[in-house]
Symmetry: C2
Subunit: 335 residues, 2 copies
């Protein structure tokens, strides 16, 4: 059975949310979870989970004395804290003690730790691994990468993102011949910045189903399986979309509570609104895989709830079970 | 009274929507509107507007035999069609026959025509003028520029966008000491791509109220008055936000019509939903000013309705009445 190392100290609600997520993942799917962090913090959080009979043997505490805080500068924190929960968790993946690592901590810290500990897959040349988010769409999910790890991108890197995104959609999300598009400021051939204009011929040469440019509005419409973009614009899109959902939710709340009648009607629609919120929630996916390193690493949202952590653990387990990393490696070698 | 040249041939619903918008603007605010385009097309559209008594003297047809189509390649169309409705409209602004120009046609065509006909304001060095969109927020509107005219941007240009955006917010939107931010992939000092890292010291040196970086989610939250970004990421954000609004609207429609009870409750909430749609609609602003050229130019949405055209005409009139262009020129000289 798959074994996942979990950063028990990462995220705004650590250690409680990671520990609760681990218990839920063990109970739901029988995954083994290594809770990595300060034992003195993890033990009480585990006790808070109530009766652990049936899953206790699946949960193991792995001591790590240091914590990389959310507010720390990633590069220097990673250099100075060699025994952080992130470093120990990544080391477990490296030496085969775990099949994947999950953290809701400082994203820059996870990126730097993973790169340092696991190194790049042979052939990958980007400065950092790519963050591949699943964006909710009308038809399901669209894989968007990079959403923030590499803000100044070379054409060759964008092509590697396209290849890895396509493999991820095929292997982990089960899409047959996933459609891959580049994100641009217009659909027409030739639209785009200098980076795109140079990258597109490289992407066209890859053994993937590349369909051309799409615009920002096409992502949530769900017209393609994978969208490739530099980490700067990808981050602007992802956080922008989060912001629009939050703003629209608030506008709806204001309008629907404007008078007693609308408040009453809205009350009856609560299940419908709950269902919409669930479809747009990051909790359902849980985490974003870091593509390009020699091992499974999932970055979860800093605000992760137990449900989000549980789903991030499942995401890591699926990537491991389906051999995502070796299959990316093979494909890169065969190019 | 202000006189606006209107591209009667521009947009998906031309000439009907521009002509109807002109009639509405003349009736509502007494603006003079020059309908620029093929007289044989404009005359029947004018007749369709019914009784024009009281505004007939405000509406004038200016003959232009050629039309730049939505699908045409802007640069070559502008070169080959010297007598297009865009060229004639921009010429009216140049020679003082009109105080501003409005078009819902091919955006690239308007940009190229305006640049060719009006040239840059002294001191402006960007490849093209910047498109300054007003994004609806929880608190009103946020000016976002550039949203697509310049996809490969130099640090100096970004600083010019910041200055022009600040002046636009102050002069046209009436904001006192508008707050200006750069859009980045994180709020922390030092976050951003190479462009931003180089541009920020230039922006800090300007006589504007610069507040640092914001992220995508902060735009619709309304935390600042003006957000500056390169035209590639700005376009990705703007179209992405449009897409999220459309997707969420569709998800809500699906959920609220899932069963007879929710359909019935939703029916009672129609006025509330209409009000939300209105707050998020581009029609209320109507058009996006093109900042950096020697004259008032407003690009309206290709799908513009008569209401959107009417509001775009008002936007042009306000920019002209408030002397936006001369005031940008003065500020640039005084730097």
């Amino acid at each position: 059975m798959v074994r996942i190392a979990l950063d028990a100290m990462g995220g705004d609600h650590a250690p409680l949310a990671p520990v609760a997520g681990a218990v839920r993942a063990a109970r739901a799917w029988g995954y083994e979870v290594q809770l990595v962090g300060r034992e003195a913090d993890i033990r009480p959080a585990l006790r808070d989970q109530g009766d652990l009979s049936g899953v206790e043997h699946l949960l193991q505490i792995v001591q790590a004395p240091e914590v990389i805080e959310m507010s720390e500068h990633p590069a220097s924190a990673v250099r100075s804290k060699r025994h952080s929960s992130m470093a120990v968790g990544v080391e477990l993946v490296k030496n085969g003690g775990a099949d994947g690592f999950v953290s809701a901590g400082n994203t820059g810290g996870v990126l730097a730790t993973a790169l340092l500990g696991l190194r790049r897959i042979e052939g990958i040349t980007s400065e950092r691994p790519a963050l591949a988010a699943q964006v909710p769409t009308l038809k399901g999910f669209c894989v968007l990468l990079d959403v923030g790890a590499n803000v100044d991108v070379k054409p060759e890197w964008l092509a590697q993102f396209a290849l890895m995104g396509s493999l991820y959609a095929e292997i982990v999300l089960g899409r047959t011949r996933p459609s891959v598009a580049t994100l641009s400021n217009g659909e027409e051939e030739g639209k785009g910045n200098a980076l795109l204009v140079e990258a597109i011929p490289l992407i066209r040469a890859l053994p993937i189903h590349y369909v051309g440019n799409v615009e920002g509005k096409d992502i949530t419409a769900g017209v393609v399986d994978v969208v490739v973009v530099d980490g700067f614009a990808g981050n602007v899109f992802l956080k922008g979309a989060e912001g629009v959902v939050a703003t629209m939710t608030e506008l709806i709340r204001q309008e629907l509570t404007r008078n007693p009648l609308s408040s009453l009607l809205a009350l009856g629609l609560r299940p419908a609104f709950r269902s919409i919120r669930r479809r747009l929630s990051y909790e359902e996916v849980g985490g974003v895989p870091l593509l390009g390193v020699n091992g499974v690493c999932i970055v979860a949202h800093g605000r992760s709830t137990p449900l989000a952590m549980q789903n991030a653990i499942r995401e890591a387990a699926r990537c491991a079970e389906l051999h995502l990393v070796p299959r990316i490696r093979e494909r890169l070698i065969s190019l």
